[in-house]
Amino acid sequence: MSASSVHSLWTTAAPVADKFPTPHIEYAQLSPVLIVLGAAALGVLVEAFLPRRSRYTAQVALAALGLAAAFAAIVALADKGYGTTKAHIAAMGAVAVDGPALFLQGTILLVGFVAIFTFAERRLDPRAHGNQVDSFAAQGSAVPGSDQEKAAVRAGFTSTEVFPLLMFAVGGMLIFPAANDLLTLFVALEVFSLPLYILCALARRNRLMSQEAAVKYFLLGAFSSAFLLFGIALLYGYAGTVSYSGISSVIDGTAPMNPALADTTGNDALLLIGLAMVAMGLLFKVGAVPFHMWTPDVYQGAPTPVTGFMASATKVAAFGALLRLLYVVLPGMRWDWRPVMWGVAILTMLAGAVIAVTQTDVKRLLAYSSIAHAGFILAGVIATTPDGISSVLFYLAAYSFVTLGAFAVVTLVRDAGGEATHLSRWAGLGRRSPLVAAVFAVFLLAFAGIPLTSGFAGKFAVFTAAAQGGAMPLVIVGVISSAIAAFFYIRVIVLMFFSEPKPDGPTVAVPSLMTSTAIAVGVAVTLVLGLAPQYFLDLADKAGIFVR
């Protein structure tokens, strides 16, 4: 089968965009992104002009409304057929409006919507000086432990900027999987990364650790962005264009040769180095081995609501971008990238699962488990079949809600120093508060991929696609590392239910309706996708065609 005929399995050709002097932007088709970014800008104005005491309510309402409206816009677009028959490339070739983009954007918006609830939670910490406090620092610029910080806490300051920051991050994440040229990809990456760096630094407790996490994330993130950007430059040198379809037609050899660029066009060395560097940038965001070093430190140090949001939404966005890059730009190169991705996937699955066994902190444990899951999803990415796309879409949707719920539960288990994240402190939690422990057990079982949970349906779909795509060894490694991973998930469950609670153990805070809702949504999605996955599998299947 020739490269171009395989390519048409998962892409449909779009009409060629107009040339320079008559730019036109399809505002209606970009409305989800515009609504979210507009709400974010409004949030900044709220922060500037509203009196301090009314900011919190205004910000929460604005963010929730913005995300809900954007989700409604996604549903309307999908309803009009932009995910299937009317899929095309909008905004002068910069953004694709197609099935995978709409599916992933919908997922990101729902994740963001639930994340707002965990961000807005103010019941978990005891009141400080008569003011309700959330998980974020009173004043980010006050040095930890200083008199200024104490004064800020006494005055009841809160960092309500987290809501506009969350919205900006969501806006960037919406563009990331839909980006249809390399420059849009890079801009989207920065738009969602920069707010995340700031959010990571804003924990109310353990501020030094939180700031350390943010600096680590920022430095490594900037490093990976540099790789991505240099890779983009090399790919531009190779193809003479940054548009995805342009590069793929140069790879297929169907593009007309520009005589001015004849010296570099078609130079395979540029293509291979550029491809490797761009893939590095994306694999960093995904948290795949060997670019995973930042994950445990950042997940542990960041405020737990931020960790939950970051662990789920970033993964959805980054895998979306990776899928589009590999399936739209580089199908002609699949014999070059597949062996490398095989290696990355195997390393990621095994390293994530094995290192997680030795972890003693629940947030670090979940971080390594997220690395292992990145490996499972990569197995689906490698399949290079239409089933590969739809299974990855389904897995991402299922996984993100489990992650969000699990981190929301972590915020509840507290002692005098804030969250009690050391695993030994969780001993006997099931005797003290059976409901919270049971909910956490559901999430752990979903991570482990036990039947009747969304984790099983997702893993089954991904591994089936990988096996049919000729990656049987990957599936075997995947099943082995799932078994290793199941060991430590079950160990936590045993620890919670079958060991004696310590007399000075942590208490489970009673959350407000906000966190309860977030956890309830997590449980509901986990069970629905586990018990009746067919509707959602069909949805992912229908959404699984990229526009080219």
Partner: protein, 162 residues
């Protein structure tokens, strides 16, 4: 990259001459056949520049660190040992923690905001007659968005020096 290209090309010419039927000084079709030849030589050779580049990069890093530790002059003083050799002192903080002036950072950040605005305004100003109403509306939207950042800085006291 340039180096690999440069040393590959004579080799190409040699092949063309050896094949005999083309005088390589006259045929400027060769430009195309060089590219074609590049592809035909198979994947092993195509990967070679990657390893060469990686080797050069690693070699340069090791060489620089190694040589600097041998031949570099070592005249340490207090300023030299600080993390940054300019600006405010990063450490120590005043006793019991405290603030250090962030005016410089603030000024620099503000500069970036307005600098970027100018960077985008400039190409628009050059072609605004061709872009017409569309360009004007888009640019107003952009300026409005930048103004949001400006309003935030103004309301939060970022424009006051003390």
């Amino acid at each position: 990259m340039q180096a690999t290209w440069a040393c590959e090309l004579p080799h190409m010419d040699a092949i063309l001459v050896a094949e005999g039927d083309a005088d390589h000084t006259t045929s400027h079709g060769p430009n195309m056949s060089v590219t074609a030849d590049w592809k035909e030589r198979g994947t092993v050779n195509a990967y070679a520049p990657i390893f060469v580049l990686g080797g050069i990069a690693a070699g340069f890093a090791i060489f620089s660190v190694f040589m600097a530790s041998i031949i570099g002059p070592k005249r340490y003083n207090r300023a030299k040992l600080e993390a940054y050799e300019c600006g405010i002192e990063p450490t120590p903080q005043p006793a019991g923690g405290g603030r250090f002036p962030i005016k410089y950072y603030l000024t620099a950040m503000l500069f970036i905001v307005f600098d970027i605005e100018i960077v985008f305004l400039y190409p628009w100003a050059v072609t605004f007659d061709r872009l017409g109403m569309f360009g004007l509306v888009e640019m107003l939207l952009f300026v409005l968005t930048v103004f949001v950042a400006y309003a935030y800085v103004w309301r939060r006291g970022g424009l006051e020096w003390d």
